[in-house]
């Protein structure tokens, strides 16, 4: 089988300003009659600037950067969710992503039902999900709550279940966005073990986090983003230093 890989060549990504300006038929029809004021001028956001890099199988990559630096945008671009404006992006391998973990749960359905639903969202078959259900329930370890509706869950329990489902399913490329901080200490240890197992299967991990310790222990390569540009790409320890320098931290 071909090794999973990610390759970006001069990738640029813009968020069109029109996407967050007032958007209605009324605004469209009124546009020719209104005068543009300085406040109404919203410019396109250049979220990724000329990013080029290669990631190969077995690599564990940490993403660093201030809020809004482009970490999440980068992850969502790799996941194929965001359309790039220019450059080229090739992603070889099945991508599994953990973003916005509580999204996509059905609050009225039980945890057990949601295991199936979320599996279907991830493009899996009902048969496969039923085979994995027991293992997912065990890993999430939320006791009898598994048969209660999701709306009765605490935020931490939701994250545990979502993590258990999303990581139970094999994928070549795992994208994580700030999810490590969730859950109690007990679960954190398990989560780390789980991620370690996934990486041991020679898959790519890309983790965005502000937790330097988690990054140091899980990743060996660091990417530092600063206002949409990739300013450092190298070993994680130096990446943390580069991040601190760029943001004026001690």
């Amino acid at each position: 089988m071909k090794q999973p890989h990610i390759s970006l060549q001069n990738v640029n990504l813009h968020y069109a300003a029109v996407a967050f300006r007032e958007r209605s038929l009324k605004a469209l029809l009124a546009r020719p009659f209104g005068r543009a004021t300085a406040a109404s001028q919203v410019h396109d956001i250049h979220a990724l600037k000329d990013v080029s890099l290669e990631i190969h199988g077995g690599e564990r990559v940490g993403l660093l950067g201030h809020n809004g630096a482009g970490k999440s945008t980068f992850l969502k671009t790799v996941a194929g969710l965001y359309p790039i404006s220019s450059g080229s992006l090739t992603v070889g391998g099945e991508v599994r992503s953990l973003f916005d973990l509580s999204l996509g749960f059905e609050p009225d359905a039980t945890g057990r039902e949601n295991i199936l639903y979320r599996g279907l969202l991830l493009g899996l078959t009902p048969k496969f999900m039923r085979a994995r259900e027991k293992e997912i329930v065990e890993f999430a370890d939320i006791g009898e709550f598994i048969d209660y509706p999701i709306k009765t869950y605490s935020a931490g329990m939701q994250v545990r279940l979502a993590f258990a489902i999303s990581t139970a399913v094999g994928g070549d490329i795992l994208l994580l966005d700030e999810v490590i901080g969730a859950g109690d200490a007990n679960f954190m240890t398990k989560a780390k073990q789980r991620i370690a197992t996934l990486i041991a299967q020679a898959e790519i991990l890309i983790l965005a986090s502000h937790d330097f310790n988690a990054l140091r222990s899980l990743c060996h390569r660091g990417l530092v983003f600063h206002h949409g540009s990739l300013i450092y790409d190298g070993p994680i320890d130096q990446a943390v230093d580069a991040y601190k320098r760029a943001n004026g931290l001690p």
Partner: protein, 260 residues
């Protein structure tokens, strides 16, 4: 193109689940549940048939199934036009997490409203069989084609509106108005002969809504086979929407996520 439909097929478990969960939430916590989908149009039909048959001097026993067929098909179209415009907006949690073809989210709207229509049509068949037993015949089998024809019509239309609805969030208000206008110029409750009497033949002959309705009305109410024109107009309208949806989707599909 074929890979696009391949991806839709691969996601079939997901959109089937979405459509079924729409139905579950629609009927959850109601005593009559599924039956509401049959009772609601029936009640409306009784009321309208009582009033309209007096107003227009029509025979209530035949006019009532006419209205009922109009109500259930019209409800289906309205559900897809107004619901379709919101399809992507409501599915934002899924769209932001996984890259499925966006057309599955309008397919969900089409499927769940199609199932409601199928249930409601049970009342139509039952009623017509009782009041117009002389019409029962092989042509009734042709009425079953209304379901695939409506699905082919509604899916691209809903998809087209979903793109527009993501870009312009006030679209549902505009479509509400448009549907009301369309209702007045189409033989949904009013009989086709009333339009013809007023010299408005064009509103009948070139109206896809009339032709779609004829697919059920001709066999059930007149005991005749639907005409080729009825299928022709419906399918040409469907094809037109499909081409438009494809043209819009080709440029807009990847950008939808930025507007959610």
């Amino acid at each position: 193109m074929s890979s696009y439909f391949g991806n839709i097929w691969r996601a079939r478990y997901f959109w089937c689940h979405l459509a079924l969960s729409d139905l579950r939430s629609r009927w959850r916590r109601s005593f009559l549940g599924v039956l509401w989908s049959i009772i609601q149009p029936l009640g409306m039909t009784l009321l309208l048939a009582l009033v309209f048959s007096r107003l227009f001097h029509s025979d209530i026993s035949t006019y009532a199934p006419y209205i009922l067929s109009g109500i259930i098909v019209w409800d289906f179209l309205v559900a897809n036009v107004t619901g379709g415009a919101l399809s992507f907006v409501q599915a934002d949690a899924y769209i932001k997490q996984y890259r499925h073809p966006l057309a599955i989210y309008t397919l969900r709207t089409v499927l769940s409203s199609l199932m409601v229509l199928m249930l409601a049509s049970v009342a139509l068949y039952g009623w017509t069989a009782v009041v117009l037993p002389q019409n029962i015949g092989w042509s009734w089998l042709a009425t079953l084609l209304i379901f695939p024809v409506l699905a082919l019509l509604a899916w691209p239309l809903a998809t087209l509106l979903a793109y527009a609805g993501t870009r312009f969030r006030d679209l549902p208000h505009a479509t509400g108005l448009a549907m009301q206008a369309l209702w007045f110029i189409s033989p949904v409750y009013f009989e086709a002969k009333m339009f013809r009497r007023g010299g408005l033949d064009a509103l009948i002959d070139y109206n896809p809504i009339y032709h779609v309705l004829q697919i059920v009305r001709a066999p059930l109410l007149e005991g005749k086979w639907p005409s080729a024109a009825d299928y022709g107009f419906s399918l040409v309208a469907a094809l037109l929407f499909a081409i438009l949806a494809w043209l819009v989707g080709r440029r807009a599909e990847r950008k939808v996520i930025l507007y959610l």
